[in-house]
Each structure stands twice: as structure tokens, then as C-alpha cells.
């Protein structure tokens, strides 16, 4: 007579078997390690800032333009107040997102835009030009300034347009790859400057600025690509585990080792419980390792992030149970798994693209998981703001997990 074995002990023994089988699956073990190394490396390569400015070169410097105009304005009988306004002129004051680099010589500016001369900014903020083709060396401790657009004003530009002279002309030098809309905007920008100096008021009124900007104004505080990628990487980790888990189950069904397991005191329920625990544990543990490597948990979001990751891990385990229960060979199982995982991947693209998500994408089971991850990790969403998506995710979790469980149970019982 043997001593009865407890269910936890049986499940524990099955989990040990799962771990051994997993460690022997060199393909997926290797891929898991590659992913755990590759994703953090990729993450840290991505830019952690958003460059939302348009850098333009101008010649001559604004100071020269103003000095020239000052003499003309005095000759035209300008008041002290008008002269003071002229002295304080800043071409970019009304245009956040424009950065000016000033050149004394318009020929040099044109050569920088053309790419035959390089512009460098030293730590002291000075602009240094070097002709590498002529053998000039790169200045020390300087950063290259990429200039694709340069505006060459005539020195008497302000005075000429203020005096309504005809034939005033400005040349905009541009690299041919600069998009048409930026070239067009530069043309409009110069024309508007001229209208302003000519004293021609805008023919329209503007509402208050607060009424113009809709939504949270993120000017200067845009979400970086690195921040956007963080939830996407975590989601990918959960999804990738579907492949290895499905492969393990598939092999077990194909080789009928499951029937060997079931002649022991283990029951189908123990087998399914062990698969669920192992799949969830593997997904979750990899997601936690990834979180440790790429960061993203804060005092405010940690509980929400961990809960949604756990929900995702169980959901993808359900998918793996379903895919694996088909018991296909390696290639068959691989492509069968892709059939299910590729559609589930679609919501992650919404993280990269601006704007709201298409309604058909919102229906997909993985959408609420991605939504909560992005909301909590990127936009600081709270539990109260996320409960709707969590509830929706829970519904899909139950549907997918039960479908996977039933499919595998049926398969095991018919072997």
C-alpha cells in the first residue's frame, strides 16, 4: 500500500518536469535568451528625447539686420519706442520650435546647407566651420550642427520692406531632401516677417491661446520613442512565450507523453494546472526581468503594471494551451501559433502611431492589455482610469483561457 500523494505534490512534480523539458528545448531557450538580451539593448539605443524643432540658418545675423534697419528707421523718423521694439527683435519669439543659427557670410551658409562645409558648435556656443574636403580637422569638444535650410536676407531687408520698396528678394537654400511642407513653411515664414515689418496687420483675429490648444499641451514634453517602446517590449515578451509554451504542449501531445503522465496518480486537472502555472510563471518572470532591465515601474503605477502583466501572462498561456493542443509538428505548430499571435500583435502598433486607435483594433483581446500598459507607464493612468480596460481584459482572459483549457483537456482525453 502506498501513501496517497497530495495534489500540490503532483503538480509540483509536473512543474519540475516542465522545467526540465523547457531547459532541453535549445531553440526556444536560445531565443528566450536572445530576446532578453536584444530587447534591452535595442531599448537603450532608442532616442530618449524628441527633437521637435526646425533648425534654420540665417544670414546675416539678426543683429546686423537690426543695425541696418535702425539707421533707416531713424531717417524715416521712427519714435524711440519703435526703435526699442526693433532692438529687441527676435525672429523666433512667436514660433516655438524654431532654432536659429546665424552666419556672417551667406556663401558659407549656402555651402553648409549644400554639405560642402561642416558647421560645429563648441561647448562655449560658438559656431566653427570646417572644410573636411580641404583637410580641416573636426574641432575638439564640438557637436555637429545639421542645417538643411538657410535663409539669406539682404542686409537692408527690414528697412526695405518697412519702406515698401519693390523688388525685395530673399533666398531660401534647402537640401533637396527637406520635405515640401517645410520648404513651403519657410517661404510662408519669410513672407509673414515681411508683412509684419511692412506694418500690415493680419486680416484675421485669433482666439485666446488656451482655446486654441486642445488636450494636454505637451510642447517640449513629448513622449519619447523609448517611453513608447517600454510597454510594447513587455507585451512582446508575454506574447513570445506563447510560442515556447505551445511548442512544449505540442510535443507532449504529438509524442503522447501526456498519456504516460496520466497513468501515474496525476489527473488531467493536475496536468492542466501545471501547464497553466508553468506558462504564467515563465511569461511573468521574463516580463519582470525585462522590467528590471528597462525600468518603468514607479511608486504610482507598480501595482497596476504588475496586475495587467499577470493578466497578460495568463491570457497568453490560454492561447498557448489552445495552439499546443493541435499537436502539430514543429513547423506546423510555429506557423499555427503565428496565425493566432500576429492579430494579437496589431494593438502594439497603436503605441507607435499618433492618434486614437481604430475601432476594430479596440475589439482585439490584446488591446486592453496594451491600453493599460501604455496608460499606466506612459501617461500615468491610475486604477480609477483603467478599470474599464481591466474589466474588458478580464472578459477576454476568461474566454481565451477557458477555450485553451477546454481544447487541451479534450485533446488529452482523446489520446
Amino acid at each position: 500500500m502506498s501513501r496517497p500523494i497530495s495534489r500540490p505534490a503532483i503538480i509540483g512534480a509536473l512543474l519540475k518536469k516542465e522545467l526540465t523539458a523547457y531547459s532541453r528545448d535549445f531553440i526556444y531557450l536560445g531565443l528566450t535568451l536572445v530576446v532578453l538580451i536584444m530587447f534591452p539593448v535595442l531599448f537603450h539605443i532608442l532616442p530618449d528625447s524628441v527633437d521637435e524643432t526646425i533648425t534654420i540658418a540665417v544670414s546675416p545675423p539678426v543683429e546686423v539686420l537690426v543695425a541696418d534697419a535702425r539707421d533707416a528707421f531713424i531717417a524715416m523718423g521712427a519714435t524711440e519706442e519703435q526703435l526699442a521694439q526693433l532692438d529687441e527683435l527676435d525672429l523666433t519669439e512667436a514660433e516655438e520650435g524654431l532654432l536659429l543659427v546665424e552666419f556672417e557670410d551667406k556663401e558659407q551658409m549656402a555651402r553648409v546647407v549644400e554639405g560642402t562645409l561642416e558647421a560645429w558648435e563648441t561647448e562655449a556656443g560658438d559656431l566653427v566651420l570646417s572644410d573636411t574636403e580641404a583637410g580641416d580637422e573636426k574641432p575638439k569638444d564640438a557637436e555637429r550642427v545639421n542645417l538643411d535650410i538657410g535663409i539669406a536676407f539682404p542686409a537692408s531687408f527690414i528697412a526695405d520692406v518697412a519702406a515698401s520698396k519693390s523688388g525685395v528678394s530673399v533666398t531660401v537654400y534647402s537640401d533637396a531632401h527637406v520635405p515640401a511642407e517645410i520648404q513651403g513653411a519657410m517661404r510662408s515664414f519669410v513672407r509673414e516677417l515681411a508683412y509684419q515689418f511692412a506694418g500690415r496687420e493680419l486680416p484675421v483675429d485669433f482666439p485666446e491661446e488656451e482655446a486654441v490648444v486642445l488636450g494636454q499641451d505637451r510642447l517640449g514634453d513629448q513622449v519619447t520613442l523609448r517611453e513608447r517602446m517600454r510597454p510594447m517590449i513587455l507585451f512582446m515578451i508575454l506574447l513570445m512565450e506563447t510560442f515556447s509554451m505551445a511548442s512544449l504542449i505540442s510535443t507532449e501531445v504529438l509524442q503522447r507523453t501526456v498519456t504516460a503522465v496520466l497513468v501515474t496518480p496525476a489527473k488531467v486537472g493536475d496536468f492542466l494546472a501545471a501547464k497553466t502555472i508553468f506558462g504564467t510563471f515563465m511569461s511573468m518572470s521574463q516580463a519582470l526581468i525585462m522590467l528590471a532591465l528597462i525600468g518603468g515601474l514607479t511608486a504610482q503605477n507598480w501595482s497596476l503594471v504588475l496586475v495587467v502583466l499577470l493578466m497578460g501572462a495568463i491570457m497568453f498561456t490560454g492561447v498557448a494551451l489552445f495552439v499546443g493542443s493541435a499537436g502539430k509538428d514543429f513547423m506546423g505548430q510555429l506557423f499555427y501559433a503565428m496565425l493566432f499571435t500576429v492579430p494579437l500583435l496589431i494593438p502594439t502598433f497603436s503605441v507607435l502611431l499618433p492618434g486614437s486607435v481604430a475601432s476594430w483594433v479596440r475589439v482585439l483581446p490584446s488591446y486592453p492589455i496594451v491600453d493599460v500598459l501604455v496608460g499606466s507607464m506612459v501617461y500615468g493612468a491610475t486604477w480609477a482610469e483603467s478599470w474599464g480596460s481591466l474589466a474588458y481584459a478580464a472578459v477576454w482572459l476568461v474566454v481565451l483561457y477557458v477555450a485553451g483549457l477546454m481544447a487541451l483537456k479534450r485533446k488529452v482525453e482523446t489520446l
Partner: protein, 354 residues
């Protein structure tokens, strides 16, 4: 060598192919990837400022923006809908042009310009859309601008991302159809024992492998041409395009045969493709990032098939401009063929020993 026996093997593979998920994936992939890359990632790499307009009075501003390059225009009927889309960052900015707006500007009434900006819109997009709109309002006012602006362009305009993605899409068509299909087909036959069964008939190993290679060449050629056509890269010089694609399919299918003969089972086959993936994939990246030193791409074997496709189909060059690359590709194919034959003899010896 019997062509008739080879044809029979090929006919069997073509008939049974559609049952294989890899075969089906190879067919679906050009359509799926074109959709994903061009629709989703195309707009990701080269985003254009997005402007929405509610035009209640046939304004000239709308007509002018419609004719402009580089601004993604959406016309809407309802101002509230426009504001909602701007707030959700579906649009960078929105403009409401009421009835009689143009006349009000011309008569000097100074109407209020209902212009909305999304809080998540980049500063550069805000500038582009706002200065462009103001300039168009100035044009409505009439009168001569106080300045003439001349634009001088240097160099040649770069190709749009939708075009630079074409080599990547063709690469996937060639690798899945040319490499994966024949490779996995050989491995599956080995695993299921049908290869050994076939070899006890009068069919010879060389005939089987040539049939598998032809399967890859046919499928890869069709799918690569379909991919190019879907991306508008098959022009009047289509016979040249077909020739360079056939050469490319010959090389990729030969890679598939080598992998299939070498791999003992499906996992090893998968491991080979995954392991060498970046090595094969690398040249396609140099078309997406033209600023990278282009000579590096020549180190990779698939450069010699991707570049002729790029030059002939995308750039519209004649086949005579790429004969050097084609010669290298054929030489690589021949070398791989010799390798496949050596590996096949080893495989045959192993099977005979079983």
C-alpha cells in the same frame, strides 16, 4: 538524370504544397507585409503634418491646401468632430472656415480664425501648419507680398520611405518562398520518412533536390513579382524585372536547399534561418537608411540579388547596368549548388546507414 521523374516530384510538391502552413504563409505574406509596412510604418517614418478642415463656405484656403504637397488633409463636416479629433491627436491641427470667411477677410472685417492645435502635436508641425494657414489667409486678402522668396535646392531629393521599404518586402518574399518553403519541405520529407521512401524508387537524390529547388524558384519568382507589383515597382521594363527576380529566386531557393539538406530536423532548420536571418536581412536595411556607408552592404550575399532588383525595378534601370551583380549572384548560386550536392551525398550516406 530524368526530367520526367523530376517533374513528377515537383508536381507532387505543387499539389500538396497548399496543405502546408508555410506554403500558405508564403502566399499571404506579400499582401500582409505590404499592408503593414506601407500603411503603418510608412506613415511612422515620414509623418506628414495632419490638418483637418471644416469648410462651410467653399473657401479658397481649402482648395489651396488640397493642392499642396506634404500636408495630410482631412475634410470634415462638423466643427465638434474636428475638435474631438484634434484633442485625440488624430489631427495635428484643425481649421474651421465659416460661411463667408473669404469675403470677410477681403472686406477687412477681420473675422476670427478658428484654428485648433493638438496638445500632442510636435512644435515643428504646429509651425508648418500655422504659418502655412496664415500665408493663405494673407493671399485671400489680395495685394502683392512685400517680398519675393526664391527657393534654391541642393542635391537630389531622397526617395520616400514607401519606396525604400520595397527591398525589405521583396527580401521577405524571397526568403519565405525561396528559402523556407523548399528547405522545410526537404526537412519534413526527412522527418516523415517520405524522402527515404522516394529514394528506394528509381528517383535519384539529385532529381528530388532539383525539384525542390525549382519549387522554390517558381514560388519565389511569383511572389517577388507580386510584391513588386503591389508596391508599384514593375514598370515598362518588366521583362528585365522578371529576369533579375528569377536570378534572385534561384539564389534564395538554393540557400533553402542547402539549409534543408543540412538540417536534421525542423528545429535545426528553424534555428538556421533564425540564426542567419540578420546576416541575410542586413542588405535590405541599407536601402531604408541611405546615409549608412553603402559599401558595407556588399559584404552580405543577398546584396547581390537585392541590388539588381532595386536598380531595375525601383530605379527603372536597364538590366545591362547590373550584369556584374547578376554574374556574382549566379556564381554564388553555383557555389551553393556544389555545397548542396556535397551535403546531399553525406545525407544519402547517413540515410543508407539507418
Amino acid at each position: 538524370m530524368s526530367l520526367s521523374r523530376m517533374w513528377k516530384v515537383l508536381k507532387k510538391d505543387l499539389a500538396l504544397g497548399p496543405r502546408s502552413p508555410i506554403f500558405l504563409w508564403a502566399i499571404v505574406l506579400p499582401f500582409a507585409l505590404t499592408l503593414i509596412m506601407q500603411v503603418a510604418f510608412g506613415s511612422l517614418f515620414d509623418p506628414e503634418p495632419r490638418l483637418g478642415i471644416v469648410d462651410e463656405g467653399d473657401s479658397e484656403i481649402t482648395a489651396s491646401i488640397e493642392g499642396m504637397e506634404g500636408i495630410e488633409l482631412t475634410l470634415l463636416d462638423d466643427a465638434e468632430e474636428l475638435k474631438a479629433q484634434v484633442e485625440a491627436n488624430d489631427l495635428d491641427a484643425g481649421l474651421v472656415l465659416g460661411v463667408g470667411f473669404d469675403d470677410a477677410v477681403r472686406s477687412g472685417e477681420k473675422p476670427t480664425l478658428e484654428f485648433y492645435i493638438s496638445g500632442e502635436s510636435y512644435a515643428s508641425n504646429r509651425i508648418i501648419l500655422s504659418v502655412t494657414t496664415i500665408d493663405l489667409v494673407r493671399e485671400l486678402e489680395g495685394g502683392e507680398a512685400p517680398v519675393t522668396v526664391d527657393i534654391v535646392n541642393f542635391g537630389r531629393a531622397g526617395l520616400p520611405i514607401s519606396v525604400r521599404l520595397v527591398p525589405l518586402l521583396v527580401f521577405y518574399a524571397l526568403v519565405i518562398a525561396g528559402l523556407f518553403v523548399p528547405g522545410s519541405n526537404i526537412v519534413e520529407e526527412k522527418e516523415q520518412g517520405t524522402l527515404m521512401a522516394m529514394l528506394v524508387t528509381p528517383v535519384k537524390t539529385a532529381e528530388v533536390l532539383l525539384a525542390k529547388w525549382l519549387l522554390g524558384v517558381i514560388l519565389a519568382t511569383i511572389l517577388a513579382v507580386v510584391t513588386l507589383a503591389l508596391n508599384g515597382a514593375v514598370g515598362p521594363n518588366w521583362p528585365h524585372v522578371v529576369i533579375v527576380v528569377i536570378v534572385a529566386a534561384m539564389l534564395s531557393a538554393m540557400l533553402g536547399v542547402v539549409a534543408g539538406v543540412f538540417a536534421k530536423d525542423s528545429s535545426i532548420m528553424f534555428g538556421i534561418v533564425k540564426g542567419t536571418g540578420i546576416f541575410l536581412f542586413a542588405p535590405a536595411l541599407f536601402y531604408i537608411f541611405p546615409e549608412w556607408p553603402q559599401w558595407i552592404a556588399k559584404i552580405f550575399p543577398l546584396y547581390w540579388i537585392i541590388n539588381p532588383i532595386w536598380q531595375v525595378s525601383v530605379m527603372g534601370e536597364s538590366i545591362s547596368t547590373v550584369w556584374g551583380e547578376i554574374a556574382v549572384a549566379i556564381a554564388i548560386t553555383a557555389a551553393l549548388g556544389a555545397l548542396a550536392w556535397t551535403l546531399a551525398r553525406r545525407m544519402q550516406a547517413q540515410m543508407a546507414g539507418q
